[in-house]
């Protein structure tokens, strides 16, 4: 890599949510240990494309820069991943950047991930503890459960698992893998388990757990290594039991 002194980016751009996308090539000076965001910052500093024409700076989203917020997810050389954690030295050139196609594009590489946040409300991805007086400490969680629940809690709703899933698209209502894994996390919590059936009923609705087609791309692509397919299978089992309870009747939550 020593002889290489420029980096070529081919970026899929879009000026507004309704305009059509186009590709623009940029060449920027090489530095050691750059991540993709460092390259985008270089373009922002000097927005001139490969033909030497001055253009608008490329827009993207970022926040934490350490792969815990999920905001900078995009499709890099065909694979959905975080641009903060993707190093240029490990990529083939030219580097192709595209916005994630599952979500509506706001501008350039900025997408609107709101559908996931709406679905977080649908599946009640929280533990209700609000009350008028102090209820004291909740029940304890056993260590074995805590260990796997901690892995699930790493989800940052970045949207990569939705992007790689063949069943999450404009033709289907399927909410996507991350949204099937989170109810498992909240149902594993001893206090959260008190509202278990509400979350499972949400997964039984259209666009819920039945949308999964077991392509298992999500578990391969998840940047946090969350066992998404194990979660989905666990929710398949739990919703199945819940549906029997709903139909035949049951005294337990």
């Amino acid at each position: 890599m020593a002889e290489q002194n420029t980096i070529t980016f081919i970026i899929t751009r879009q000026d507004s949510p309704d305009s059509s996308p186009y590709k623009e090539t940029f060449k920027i000076p090489y530095r050691k240990n750059m991540n993709v965001i460092a390259g985008l910052m270089e373009i922002q500093r000097n927005p001139v494309n490969a033909n030497g024409e001055k253009t608008t700076p490329v827009k993207w989203e970022m926040s934490c820069l350490e792969e815990v917020c999920g905001a900078c997810s995009m499709v890099i050389n065909g694979y959905a991943q975080q641009s903060c954690a993707t190093l240029i030295d490990e990529l083939e050139q030219p580097i192709r950047l595209e916005p994630m196609s599952t979500f509506p594009v706001v501008r350039d590489l900025v997408v609107d991930r709101e559908r996931m946040f709406d679905d977080l409300k649908r599946i009640k991805a929280w533990i209700p503890i609000d009350g008028t007086h102090d209820l004291g400490p909740g029940p304890r969680m056993d260590e074995q459960t805590r260990q796997w629940a901690y892995e699930l809690s790493k989800c940052m709703t970045c949207g990569v698992c939705l992007e790689v899933c063949p069943n999450v698209n404009d033709k289907s209502e399927f909410m996507g893998p991350a949204l099937l894994s989170l109810p498992r996390l909240y149902n594993a919590h001893p206090t959260g388990a008190m509202n278990k059936s509400e979350r499972l009923d949400a997964l039984l609705d259209d666009g819920g757990v039945s949308g999964c087609g077991n392509s298992q791309n999500c578990v391969q692509a998840c940047p946090k290594g969350i066992p998404l397919t194990t979660s989905i299978a666990a929710m398949n089992r739990a919703t199945m039991i819940q549906s029997f309870k709903n139909f035949f009747g049951s005294d337990t939550n």
């Binding site: 698209n169 039945s210 392509s215 298992q216 397919t229 194990t230 299978a233």
Partner: protein, 206 residues
């Protein structure tokens, strides 16, 4: 139940693929394998099956209605996917695509096969017998069509068993899912052999 219609239909679709359709397919391939032991054996077995009591009721509820439901919802499932196996070429993603491709091929094959060997019998044009199949499979194109049709059916069934076990929440751990993947591969090989062996007998007499 009404508000969870999609869930109910999808789980029913998955179940029907195994019971009764999967069981019927295996039974059908095994009974047809009588052909390998000789023309007379096959005709006896085929006549036994064709003259079962309540045969039309059995056919309707064990074969026609389940397959019709499975096919209609199946085609819908094919259309709501945007396949990306080329970009994300993991094994399960290829099997996901193949499950949809073989589903469509199997539907075409079954439609033709039912027309040729069941509707024609009902219309009184032909009779179920060893020689009927011998006639059909004297055409090399039909031999290829039947082999593709059988392999596509057996793949769809074997891989569908895995999908059923995951969708119904039987297989949760990655290890169990992996072990059963090999199990379904074995199922695919065994039932494909039974089916293809019969075709070889009809087509080449060996």
């Amino acid at each position: 139940m009404a508000e969870h219609r999609e869930f109910f239909y999808r789980r029913l679709h998955s179940l029907l693929g195994v019971i009764p359709i999967g069981l019927f397919v295996v039974q059908h391939l095994i009974v047809n394998h009588f052909a390998v032991y000789g023309e007379e054996q096959f005709n006896t077995a085929a006549n036994f099956m064709a003259n079962l009591p309540f045969v039309l009721v059995l056919e309707t509820f064990v074969i026609y209605l389940p397959i019709l439901f499975h096919a209609v919802l199946g085609v819908y499932i094919v259309f709501v996917a945007r396949n990306n196996a080329k970009r994300y070429g993991y094994l399960r993603n290829w099997l996901f695509l193949l499950q949809r491709v073989t589903g469509v091929i199997t539907l075409i094959f079954i439609a033709w096969h039912v027309w040729e060997t069941r509707v024609q019998v009902a219309l009184g044009n032909v009779e179920v017998s060893f020689s009927l199949m011998e006639d059909i499979l004297s055409n090399p194109f039909m031999v290829a069509f039947y082999i593709v049709g059988i392999l596509s059916t057996t793949f769809h069934l074997a891989n569908g068993l895995w999908g059923f076990a995951v969708s119904w929440g039987i297989l949760q751990s990655p290890r169990s899912q992996k072990v059963i993947t090999y199990g379904t591969l074995l199922v695919f090989v065994v039932i494909s052999y039974i089916g293809i062996r019969t075709i070889v007998k009809f087509a080449y007499g060996i």
